[in-house]
Amino acid sequence: MTLNAERVSRAAGGRLILDGVDLSPGPGATTGLLGPNGSGKSTLLRLLAGVLAPASGVVTLDGRPLDRVGRRDVARRVAVVEQQADTQVELTVRDVVRLGRIPHRRPWTPASAADEEAVTDALGRTRLTAQADRLWHTLSGGERQRVQIARALAQQPRELLLDEPTNHLDLRHQLDVLALVAALPVTSVVALHDLNLAAMYCDHLVVLSEGRVVARGEPAEVLTAGLVAEVYRVHAEVTRTGPAARPHVRFLGTLPD
């Protein structure tokens, strides 16, 4: 059992952002959320995180509606990595990762050995141990994203939600971040713009367009020239020569609207 969205809808400013979307990410798998700007990816992630409430439909965690599970209990299970987190506060890498222990700690009590162990472990898994004492504002974009993932891991989640974690990263850091996420033994849902990265690292893809699911399945089934034309209005050619016969999309130009 894990996170589940059942026929969730959400409107903003009189416009439907999400229109009856179902999502049941496979436990332990990496699910890619695709779709053009404004298709509802971020909103769906915010509903799954419990930051927003659906106007209709329900998000459940282990079968219980999310709003009946306490905020702290949700935060111990579900961790979120935002698109571009930033702060004015002078925090070190370790300080930021320690934020992930907040849902596990009670007020007035100092950090336990388990807290420190989770922080050390998260730093190790994201290869940030040597950088632990650096200040947040001296980090590059790729490093910041890794630190946020380390913070999420320190929450010891079973579900991990990432909103376009590769935005503004150079090629190497994009691959680096997604390889890290795909290798984690947690259920992850990743909103992505890059179809080829999605094909390489996701076990399962869900494509949104104007608030509805238009395709879902394994990358090889979902990523077709027809779908790219329909959803993105882009003329593309899809080949299956990549590793493990994963599809590769080559863009040839835009199509008339």
């Binding site: 419990g50 930051v51 209990d73 579900v78 935002e82 934020l99 849902p103 001296t138």
Partner: protein, 360 residues
């Protein structure tokens, strides 16, 4: 080096950027601060225009605390100066300094605004309007003291800010903007009342109060101030971890398990009430709440479990000495303490900002 290799290393931080200053632990700061505060209070009460022997000062205090023999050789007048004027004034200075610094630190984190201070929610301007209505126009018909009027004014102003910010959308920037609006409104009301209805003497008195003065401190002020401080400090320290969670904004705090709306309401109310109590007895002492949190953060690091207690101690020590200076520097005249806090605070503030500036 190949171009690919060069591009790879270019992304790394340049060598020579220092690792963060290691924050010293609380067990080092808290006892040191407590000792400094006790010494400051003990020394500050022996300083003043009336020429009273240091030994006499302490024997008066010891006698009142019931630990010494009754000070038979000290005149009742001197006894009164020490016990009814200097000691409550020094203690109220400590309470105000501590309270304002803690409120500033909490509001800066909660509103994610380095310019936030205890008066950002319009509390001080509301208080001054309330006080002026009592002093100048005699509102309350004598049943209301200046402090009482100031407290009521502060609460009204805070309620207005909460109402405004809620109906304007409730985001942090709306809270700050609503606070600015209330501040402007109430300062104009205060100026209007003072300039149209007050005589020169009253205007001078009101001005003194507006700038912040501990001159009127009595034991009731000390007790209410201390009680409000202890209560607010307990609530804020209980929320220390929650305040840490706001570093990356409200949504990030929410995904770390924080009830954002509830937390914000509780902390805004608690800091506003503490500020209202302090402003009601000492006027709007500026700058402590804005500057001290920044200075202390440079020493302790940003974690609130460490920051808040050290802020309280540093604020208390700071204001005890500033007030001592304010009442002695132009003896027997007094300078409003709020003027001295700024005169000392601004250069100190610039120094702190300079030393903690980020490499461009």
């Amino acid at each position: 080096m190949t171009p690919a290799g060069a591009a790879k290393t270019a992304d790394r931080a340049p060598a020579g950027i220092p690792a963060a200053r290691r924050a010293r632990p609380l067990w080092l700061w808290a006892p040191a601060g407590t000792v400094a505060l006790c010494v400051s209070v003990a020394v500050a009460v022996t300083i003043g225009p009336a020429d009273i022997d240091v030994a006499d000062v302490w024997s008066v205090i010891a006698a009142h605390l019931g630990v010494g023999t009754t000070a038979g050789d000290v005149s009742p007048l001197r006894d009164g100066i020490v016990w009814d004027l200097r000691l409550p004034r020094t203690l109220l200075a400590a309470a105000c300094g501590a309270g304002l610094a803690v409120c500033g630190a909490v509001l800066q984190s909660l509103l994610r605004n380095p310019l936030a201070d205890p008066f950002v929610l319009g509390v001080s301007s509301g208080a001054s309007t309330g006080a002026v209505l009592v002093v100048v126009l005699g509102v309350g018909g004598g049943a209301l003291s200046v402090s009482g009027g100031a407290f009521l004014g502060a609460v009204c102003s805070f309620a207005l800010v909460m109402l405004l910010s809620h109906s304007l959308g409730g985001t942090t920037d709306r809270v700050v903007l609503a606070g600015v609006a209330a501040m402007q409104l109430f300062s104009s009301l205060t100026s209007f009342v003072v300039l149209t209805a007050a005589d020169a003497e009253t205007t001078r008195g009101v001005l003194f109060w507006l700038l912040g003065s501990l001159g009127g401190a009595g034991w009731p002020d000390v007790w209410t101030g201390a009680a409000a401080l202890v209560l607010a400090l307990a609530v804020c320290l209980g929320h220390a971890r929650t305040l840490d969670a706001f570093a990356f904004g409200q949504d990030a705090a929410a995904t770390l398990g924080v009830h954002v709306v509830r937390t914000r309401l509780v902390l805004l109310c608690v800091t506003a009430l503490l500020t209202a109590v302090l402003v009601a007895s000492a006027g709007a002492i500026g700058f402590v709440g804005l500057v001290l949190p920044h200075a202390v953060r440079a020493l302790t690091g940003p974690g609130h479990a460490r920051l808040l207690p050290v802020c309280a101690l540093a604020g208390a020590v700071f204001l005890v000495w500033v007030d001592t200076l304010a009442r002695t520097v132009l003896e027997p005249k007094e300078v409003p303490v709020g003027v001295v806090t700024s005169l000392i605070g601004v250069p100190a503030f610039v120094l702190v900002l300079y030393r903690t500036r980020r490499p461009r």
